[in-house]
Subunit: 429 residues, 2 copies
């Protein structure tokens, strides 16, 4: 039967986000996401979720009419159409912030994942089978710790909700020192069963962050630990403070800025290096190979051009002896489901994936939030991504978007609300 796209619905949403600290400042009380629904002539609805950004939303609105009548299987052609429409992202488009600021890759990811969801539903197969099939039934994630201020985010602003219990209560607590970080880790691991732990760093002076990592090691013994200062340490700090903690690290993510620095530092240390900041596209790969800037690529299908491109990246990594794991941003269940399908398909899985999901509390998929068991998420049952949009919940989060007035992520502005003198520095410590 003929299958084509009849309509594309683009819905920006704002999701409650706590006051998490990172190298670029402070998370706003809402994080933005964009949800894409592709509706076919046969009534299939495919969905996807990407980081929210007004410029990307506009571009999606611009390309949507061109895709009326498009066969969702034509993903190679879709990529060409997008490139013909918008060109390619400029080499510096990723930006200096911890998150990826490119446009074209995000658009392709949004459309590709929704098309794969359509294809899965059309063929009655889970997306993982469109990526070559399952190598594992469940996908392990890591506890993603953040330095944070007190509070919950969202409609509450950063107020506390005194009625919250368990992890929902723990999630509101401040964590600005080793003990706070350890307490957060204990609560998060108790709730989700994570078997490895990452601390988002770059927020406090290196000696404090090293002490937090050593405290985690003290508390969690052999648990794999990771630290990510988002490339804002100097070479000097990284060498001297990194040396103090490398024995307790499973990997070190983006200690310094740029492939060249990463490579130079890596040669002087004995901990594997990971990145989602210095090698973030296929274009970056040759120089990464030449310099050997990292051991582990933290891919993200949202900015590596979708799920099929991520399978190709998996092959690149195997070919050039890089491990592959995954980066995340604040996200909901559609992105999580896509990450799980991909994580279940890649042959070279050796590091639990990142997810911000525990920091979110809302959901826009029917049946509510996806569950973690022993830190892992089972590949969703059912065709496509295995999730279905809850339109009432979507509308409610879209209302949040309209009300909150945010149009893009800007952690610097949020931080300046707390500390007016603060400004973003690509290399701070």
């Amino acid at each position: 039967m003929e299958l084509y796209i009849e309509k594309i619905v683009i819905t920006p949403i704002a999701i409650t986000d706590p006051p998490l600290l990172n190298a670029a400042g402070l998370h706003a009380s809402y994080a933005l996401r964009t949800v894409v629904e592709i509706i076919t002539n046969t009534g299939i609805a495919g969905v996807s979720e990407i980081p929210g950004n007004e410029e990307v939303n506009k571009a999606l609105e611009e390309i949507a009419p061109l895709l009326r009548g498009w066969d969702p299987f034509q993903l190679n052609g879709l990529q060409r159409l997008i490139h013909n429409t918008f060109g390619a992202d400029k080499p510096d488009a990723r930006g200096d912030a911890p998150w990826d600021q490119r446009k074209v890759v995000h658009i392709f990811s949004a459309l590709e994942v929704a098309c794969l969801d359509v294809i899965g539903k059309y063929t009655d197969r889970p997306v993982v089978d469109l990526l070559g099939g399952k190598m594992r039934d469940e996908v392990p994630f890591a506890a993603y710790l953040f330095y944070k201020y007190e509070g919950a985010g969202g409609r509450l602003g950063f107020d506390m909700d005194p009625s919250a219990k368990g992890w929902a209560a723990a999630r509101q607590q401040a964590a600005i020192d080793p003990q706070g970080v350890v307490d957060q880790a204990k609560a998060m691991c108790r709730e989700f069963g994570f078997q490895s732990i990452k601390l988002k760093g770059g927020a406090f002076p290196p000696n404090e962050e090293v002490n937090a990592m050593l405290a985690l090691h003290e508390e969690f013994g052999g648990m794999p630990l990771r630290h990510d200062p988002n490339a804002n340490w100097t070479m000097g700090s990284a060498l001297s403070y990194g040396t103090k903690m490398q024995d307790v690290l499973e990997y070190w993510e983006d200690p310094v800025r740029g492939q060249k620095n990463m490579a130079e530092l890596r040669r002087q240390m004995k901990v594997p290096f990971a990145t989602n900041m210095c090698t973030t596209s296929f274009d970056d790969f040759p120089e990464s190979v030449r310099l050997h800037s990292e051991d582990i690529i933290l891919s993200d299908h949202h900015f590596w051009g979708g799920l099929k491109a991520s399978m190709e990246l998996s092959r690149l990594c195997m070919t050039f002896d890089r491990a592959l794991s995954m980066h995340s941003n604040s996200h909901l269940g559609i992105s999580l489901a896509a990450m799980v399908h991909l994580g279940a398909a890649i042959p070279n899985f050796s590091y639990a994936l990142d997810t911000h999901y525990p920091w979110q509390s809302e959901e826009i998929i029917k049946g509510g939030r996806l569950a973690f068991e022993n830190g892992a998420v089972a590949v969703p049952e059912g065709p496509g991504l295995g999730v279905e949009l809850d339109h009432a919940a979507l509308q409610s989060l879209h209302n949040n978007y309209l009300e909150c007035g945010l149009t893009e992520r800007n952690d610097e502005i949020e931080m300046q609300k707390v500390n007016p003198d603060w400004s973003f520095k690509p290399v701070r410590w």
Copy 2:
């Protein structure tokens, strides 16, 4: 609906092949292929075709029972199963001959392509759509010229068939000098409309082959020309004789042996280098990048691990600024169809593909031999590969296999029947 493999049928066949010369000797009067049929519980039959070899056939027979009940979508798992069963091909398993002598990659290709044919039929989609969809409706091939002795091959041995007309008659003619090569090219291009021309070399002294290339240039003007001595020229010959013809070449394929020599020679010349002998696996890729041994990878899904792996190779090539084209061996329409689906899907198509198909006269697919128009083959219509096995024709070529007594390709032995003193030399000229 549940879908699983119920039966795998492995049928070795022998196809009529003329006395073509190459660096390893002489084609036998039959070329061996193996046809794999995968029959599912739902009655779908998926097919594939690979180079025939007794050892590979035995391995296929060994793994077939393990795949009873296997879901054909589980291709990542299939690869793991094959590796767990047979290990990986050893680094030197490719061998020195022009054709690839590895076992495991061929097994995987045979099973993967047949599974993709099943999946296409199950989902009512052409295989190209399982590879991301069509970038083009037809796939250009090159005229593949061979030095040859007189005769047709097959049941005729190398006798002539006086009733043959047109290309069937021209195909029987000897071509052992520039005029013979030009005549062959004219007849082949007249019949199939090819827009580029390759001469399989390595058979005669370099000055004679250079003269043949110059004669082709003289006759065909701006037509893209390629020459492939299958790595049996010395560095000295390649440099001095290559210099005489590089201005008329679109690319030069494997003039010398090994990545190191290729890289060294390439730096001294101004013609793009292609290979299907020095960079023939993902394992070879890092060293190819380091040395820059070639500009164009001549992939072959039969030994790069199937069609999805070839799409991954396409990404590797784009990432590292290599072009991608395709190698071939004597083959029938199932392999040609698979090549066309792949050729239609790859985004980075810039060189017409190789095919031996004009040298064959038989076919095992319903409707007979696939057609070339202006040197290109249209992507077959219909689900899967778009071809269906003609079991009577298959049986007849299987009978040839049983009668001919060949169990593997050995061009040296065939050449020794003509010239008893001849022996294979990896580097001859």
